[in-house]
Amino acid sequence: MSDYYENYLTIFLFVLVGLGLFGAMIGVARLLQPRRQTAAKLATYECGVEAEGDWWTQQHVRYYVFALLFVVFDIEAAFIFPWATVMGSIADAWAVLVEMFVFIGILVVALAYVMRKGLLRWM
């Protein structure tokens, strides 16, 4: 088995370790805990009074805006990481640097535009 697959198999196995840990602890707890459920216990908590209206409401649109921004910058980060890893070993260092500056610069301009438009204003 190659080293590469070994590592990824390991990661997969540790997902199972996490789930096993969770299962084992819940299992032990289940053996120890009492189970006497009443209607009041199963009710939704809303500060001691009956919950009013539907809990499932739309959240404000700004979460969507921030999520979009996040995706944009996260993809940026995904590009920067490989670049950062190899930038020192490429012969024409300045060209590599300038290229990335252009890339980041576009994003910074976008961020400034978004800020100017008031999209980063939470309220």
Partner: protein, 391 residues
């Protein structure tokens, strides 16, 4: 649509499109949600409930629901004798029990025409101010928690405990002293009280400095409170908001100075005011008033006259017919008793004017149109005690 031409429709559409373009973030419709905050909530100071209709994070309107702690004190006062009533009024604002007794006892003394001896006046002043310090230190700590700072409360409560110990050493009770009698006090000060007071007051002064650094001087705290929940002076007065809440809005009223009672006219202190009227100003005023209270106590201890701790009063307290409104500057604001007597040992009617009741009644107005994130900061800064609201 009958009366609207198609040109007008398209003009409206253009405007709408433009609005959508310039203000995407401003408001897209989100459905309303009703949120109950309280009665079982970590920051409602007892059983208090706010029914908030929120749209997104904006509060459309909020309705405080009170009465969970209504104990019918006004009715109970009508079947109790005067000395028994101090037990009740102690429990109105439980953080400053001693300060509650003062206006009631003063009202009874006023109707009876009894003047308590000077020493009594000084001791009452000292204990009232100690109750004020205890209440304000609790506020400064708890408000820190509400804003999210978990450390200041322990420092505040550590030195609050010293003050409570002092109150206990005199009265035997930390929260409900029941120490006042019509015409005087139950007992004199214990030995060594003045020396211990001096030590405790130094500690309080130190902790005030600490709290100023930890809370009021903190940038995040300022960000959260400055300009938030502004009470305009006129509105506040019309709603009967009193105490540090209204002094933070630029009102210079202080009953201790304007309508002197106890030993206040002979003591030196400043009335703390601010003009900003926001949450920060309210907290700041309370911190400064704590310092002023220390000053009053130190002055009163220095000037404490000798003499009896009880005036000559009849064995059975009988109050002649009359009506009087006696108010006092409680830690939370104007605490007053409208006392109606028709003679005899039992009052005919006692209207208890509590500061928190009026202070809370401004909440629906104050919270309208604010944001959920500011709600706790605003509610906390008004600083009400539920016993004081519900009586």
């Amino acid at each position: 649509m009958a009366g609207i031409t198609s040109a007008e429709v398209s003009a409206q559409a253009r405007v709408a499109a433009h609005m959508a373009d310039v203000g995407v973030a401003v408001e897209l419709e989100t459905p309303e949600m009703t949120l109950n905050i309280g009665p079982q909530h970590p920051s409602t100071h007892g059983v208090f409930r706010l029914v908030a209709r929120v749209e997104g994070e904006k509060i459309e309107d909020v309705e405080p629901v009170i009465g969970y702690m209504h104990r019918g004190y006004e009715k109970l006062c009508e079947v109790r004798t005067y000395p028994q009533i101090t037990t009740l009024v102690n429990r109105i604002d439980w953080l400053s029990g001693y300060a509650n007794e003062i206006p009631f006892i003063l009202a009874a003394e006023r109707l009876m025409g009894i003047e308590a001896p000077p020493r009594v006046q000084y001791i009452r002043t000292i204990l009232t101010e100690m109750a004020r310090i205890a209440t304000f230190l609790a506020f400064l700590g708890v408000y820190g928690i509400e804003i999210g700072a978990i450390t200041p409360i322990f420092h505040a409560f550590r030195d609050r405990e010293r003050v409570l110990d002092l109150i206990e050493s005199v009265t035997g009770g930390r929260f409900h002293p029941n120490f006042n009698r019509v015409g005087g006090l139950l007992d004199d000060l214990p030995a060594g009280f003045l020396a211990e007071t001096a030590v405790a007051m130094d500690a309080v002064k130190r902790v005030c400095d600490d709290l100023e650094d930890l809370i009021l001087g903190n940038d995040i705290f300022r960000e959260r409170t400055v300009g938030v929940g502004v009470i305009p002076l006129e509105r506040g007065l019309a709603c009967g908001v009193s105490g540090a809440n209204i002094r933070a809005s630029g009102c210079t009223v202080d009953i201790r100075r304007d309508e002197p009672y106890l030993a206040y006219p002979e003591l030196d202190f400043d009335v703390v005011t601010d003009t900003r009227g926001d949450c920060f100003a309210r907290a700041w005023c309370r911190l400064q008033e704590t310092r002023e209270a220390v000053r009053i106590i130190e002055g009163a201890c220095k000037a404490l006259p000798a003499g009896p701790f009880m005036a000559k009063v009849p064995k059975v307290i009988q109050v002649p017919p009359g009506e009087v409104y006696q108010r006092a500057e409680g830690p939370l604001g104007e605490m007053g008793f409208y006392l109606v007597s028709r003679g005899g040992r039992i009052p005919y009617r006692v209207k208890i004017r509590t500061p928190s009741f009026s202070n809370v009644s401004i909440l629906p107005w104050l919270l309208e149109g604010t944001y959920m994130a500011d709600l706790i900061a605003i509610v906390g800064s008004l600083y009400f005690i539920l016993g004081d609201v519900d009586r």
